[in-house]
């Protein structure tokens, strides 16, 4: 009968506990229940700050004042709302509708009536505190983006958490009404930036005013981020882009640090605080320049002549050409019964690979590409990081496209045409790349072969400035090319700027050797022999201008990819942007070197 005795014993304990709670301490609990006086007041934690690589503050938090109501205390509700409506200038119905929307579980919890009220209204409400039972002002830390529109795509913005995300259990410290990162670094580093809310268990009086704090849990602040971005350089890039649609990416070739990530046009992240208005959102959405797209990772462009670097590498590696092999360029290449033109209709004459890169000769690369073949070209492109994600820690990255014969068969149910290989060889046709991919690629050429995964955040630190986590550079792979062949290509790229016939010889800087490649991407295809006066074309039909480069050529500190949409020529529209950035980043050289002399001699 042991089991029976157990039950008798346990039930006696439970019953005695009931007697204790309801009879002995009943009076006390009855009194507490009359005033409903034990409440929770949450203490907001502040979100982590964001700095640039030189510890310039980019994003911080400012206090916003929210007007809240506790229904249980705001009695009689109608009178209170009437008085409040008089002060705020809202209609009573609007306020009541806000309360209605919040639903049932909110009798004793503060409920936000108006977010981010002005200081004037704050003062008025404070002054009438005693006529407004249950009305409180809550201070809410709110995001503040100090440099409006600067690096908006990189930094990102916040948005209110939705019901699905709350139910997913992925955000245990977030409650309804709170904001989480929605875009950019704010989104990808949400786990670091987010703080943990604290709270008070408090005793309140009949009007809901706090009499006593019973227990406290301190909030934990979010962690700060140190970006790899250089604020001054970023601003410079954005100024240089100006009204143009386009993008600039600058990387540190020695570790993949993202020094600049500019996409134009940009948007003001402060508009997203507390929910963007429908009108503003429509304007952003309908803008033909697509300000909400991060063009550095989302826009896919034909690489144009910048792709000749790949064709050159593939030709050298596949041994269809060497340092000394030459092709003759009469201004066109006859393939089948069609003439493929060189951009220089008078022809380049006899040239080798170094000269062909420097002068961007199409005919040389038609023939090189033809010998390499589409699939081998694709292999080298892929190995160089094109046609696949760079792995940058930002959402919405696009992979671009590097076509193969198998791809075309699958996509169009048609076999690959040999003529298409010619277009591919000079970066036209199906090829698509993002500016970031080109920056990663050119920086790998500059650092002699290492592809880095672009790094956005250097380190994560706590509010006291103690580094909690360093984010190490990550090697994503190596270029599929020997050092000897890379050296040949690097010579060609150097001659683009410093050779006598280089396509970007006008961007020379005193004391700094720049190696790069121009590109002019056709937006629509022209029929052979058809002539256009570019100046008369509609702007949206004009060519995109590319420039990719690194400097100083021998030991690169910066690698840049610039694209100006409809900028016409890479050499005239994009290259000067890169030049200005290099100048801003490296500064003026202290000792004039031999290069300067050489430079002066060759000025035309």
């Amino acid at each position: 009968m042991g089991a029976g005795l157990c039950i008798v014993f346990i039930f006696s304990v439970l019953f005695l506990r009931l007697v204790y709670l309801q009879m002995i301490r009943g009076e006390e609990y009855r009194r507490l229940s009359m005033t409903n006086c034990v409440r929770l007041k949450s203490i907001k934690s502040s979100r982590g700050l964001i700095y640039d690589r030189n510890r310039n503050l980019l994003v911080d938090n400012r206090p916003a004042f929210d007007l809240t109501i506790v229904l249980e205390d705001a009695k009689p509700l109608a009178t209170t709302l009437e008085r409040l409506a008089e002060l705020t200038g809202d209609s009573c119905e609007d306020l009541a509708a806000t309360i209605e929307k919040a639903g049932r579980s909110a009798f004793y919890k503060p409920l936000v009536l108006k977010r981010d009220i002005t200081r004037d209204l704050l003062a008025v409400v404070e002054a009438h505190q005693f006529d407004l039972p249950g009305i409180h002002i809550d201070i809410e830390p709110t995001r503040n983006y100090i440099y409006k529109k600067t690096a908006a795509h990189l930094i990102g913005y916040l948005g209110e958490i939705n019901k699905e995300e709350l139910a997913s259990g992925k955000f245990p410290n977030v409650r309804s009404g709170d904001s989480i990162g929605r875009y950019g670094v704010e989104k990808s580093f949400e786990a670091d930036l987010q703080g943990k809310r604290g709270g008070h268990q408090v005793e309140v009086d009949v009007n809901g005013r706090v009499i006593k704090i019973l227990k406290t849990v301190e909030p934990v602040s979010g962690k700060d981020l140190i970006l790899t971005m250089d604020l001054a350089l970023q601003q410079k890039a954005e100024t240089l882009l100006g009204e143009n649609d386009g993008a600039v990416v600058a990387l540190d070739p020695s570790n993949g640090d993202v020094l600049v990530m500019a996409s134009s046009p940009s948007f003001d992240q402060n508009d997203f605080i507390g929910g963007i208005s429908n009108k503003k959102w429509q304007i952003l959405r309908d803008d033909p320049g697509k300000p909400m797209n991060n063009k550095t990772i989302q826009a896919e462009y034909p690489p144009a002549s910048t792709y000749k670097i790949i064709t050159a590498l593939a030709g050298l590696e596949e041994k269809v050409i060497d340092r000394n092999s030459t092709f003759f360029c009469p201004g066109f290449y006859k393939f089948g019964n069609r003439r493929y033109h060189c951009w220089n209709k008078y022809g380049h004459g006899n040239l080798n690979v170094v000269d062909a890169i420097a002068q961007s000769c199409d005919v040389f690369f038609y023939q090189t590409g033809e010998k390499v073949g589409v699939d081998a070209l694709a292999r080298y492109a892929h190995g160089s990081g094109l046609g696949r994600l760079t792995g940058i820690r930002l959402a919405h990255e696009h992979p671009g496209l590097i076509p193969t014969s198998a791809w075309k068969k699958k996509r169009f149910k048609e076999p690959w045409q040999a003529g298409e290989t010619l277009s591919i060889s000079i970066g036209q046709g199906f090829n698509l790349v993002t500016p970031l991919q080109m920056a990663v690629f050119i920086s790998a050429i500059g650092n002699n072969g290492t592809l880095y995964r672009p790094r956005l955040v250097k380190s994560v630190q706590d509010a006291k400035g103690q580094v909690i986590r360093e984010i190490e550079p990550e090697i994503a792979g190596g270029l599929p090319a020997s050092k000897a062949n890379l050296a040949i290509v690097r010579q060609g790229l150097l001659d683009v700027v410093h050779g006598n016939r280089g396509t970007a010889r006008h961007i020379r800087l005193p004391g700094v050797q720049i190696a790069g490649k121009t590109g002019t991407a056709q937006v629509f295809s022209r029929k052979a022999g058809e002539k256009f006066d570019n100046k008369k074309l509609k702007r949206t039909l004009q060519d995109h201008a590319w420039f990719v480069c690194y400097a100083p050529a021998q030991d690169p500190k910066i690698a840049i990819a610039v694209i100006i949409e409809h900028g016409e020529h890479g050499s005239s529209a994009a290259a000067p942007v890169a030049k200005e950035l290099i100048h801003a980043y490296l500064g003026d050289p202290e000792i004039p070197s031999a290069v300067v002399k050489d430079d002066q001699e060759s000025v035309e």
Partner: protein, 369 residues
Amino acid sequence: MFDRRLISNFDWGFLLLIFVICILGLTILYSAVTAGYAGNVLPALFKKQVVWMAVGFVIMMGCLVIDFKEFGKLHLLIYATCVGLLVTTWLAGHTGGGSQRWLVLGPVRIQTSELMKISLIISLASVYADSISPEGLGFRHLIKPVILCIIPFSLIVIQPDLGTGLLLLLIAGCLTLFVKVEKKVLFTLVGTGLSLVPLVWFFGLKAYQKDRILTFLNPERDPLGAGYHIIQSKIAIGSGMLTGKGFLHGTQNALNFLPEQHTDFILSVLAEEWGLVGCGVLLTLYFILLFWGLNISYSCRNMFGSLLAMGVSIMIFWQIFINVGMVMGLMPVVGVPLPLVSYGGSSVVTNMVGFGILLNISMRKFNTA
């Protein structure tokens, strides 16, 4: 096929008792879910619960058709099905409140760990019925039961639902002790258990897991979460005093201080509105229910039936004790529902199956074949 004797042996009193508890449960639930509502629309949750109870009664009656001894023969099949359901929940379950406990079947969400309780009891009763001896069970007798427990326990703990997992072990442990084990086995088991605790604590758990367990044992550590619920629950209960504030007049209830007032904390609603008198009535009903269960166990001449009845009674007992203890601040805050009172279909059905088994054993207790 249906023996006339079965009807004459049917335990009408027990059925009436369950019916009375159900009615009381629905009354309290009605108050809990309508609190704070001005409208006179019958809340959806209440309707759902009525449907679940009706379904439960049908299932309970269904449990009577087959002789309970058949359950013993089929126990491995039942067990495998339930484990299968747990695995499915793990792989494809619905996540609620950060853990995967629910299996969605059309419009119905099943908490599979609830069904596992009954299945485990059937399996253990069946295994022990074969191995029971006056000297108690030896080590070799315990191999099977331990395996039977470990599988569902692990599957429930990874959901993660530590509370239900421990409850499962608690039920199994009590049944094993009731069957009696050899002294040396008892000491060894208790000894290993005690020595494992510090090992797991210092080497097996991460800081946040320890934190969770400490809070589980002492809700006061978390004044904004579990600790706050306990305080509100105590205020609600205490403020009911001797006779309560009256049906639908609970102020704490109406203000929704407790997020789980219609499920785990429903006793606080009863205590606030009906006072010590109301709680006393419910506890008395539960007390009678448990003794009825023990009586069925003791008077059954079939060993399997006797153990099965004991297992079901133990299950009901722990649910009541843990829930009532938690609401009054005597036990850790665990998600264990109050039988037939808390809202929840899986819990209602599981308990009804349990009562069906008790009725089944009761009406066939003279039939030893």
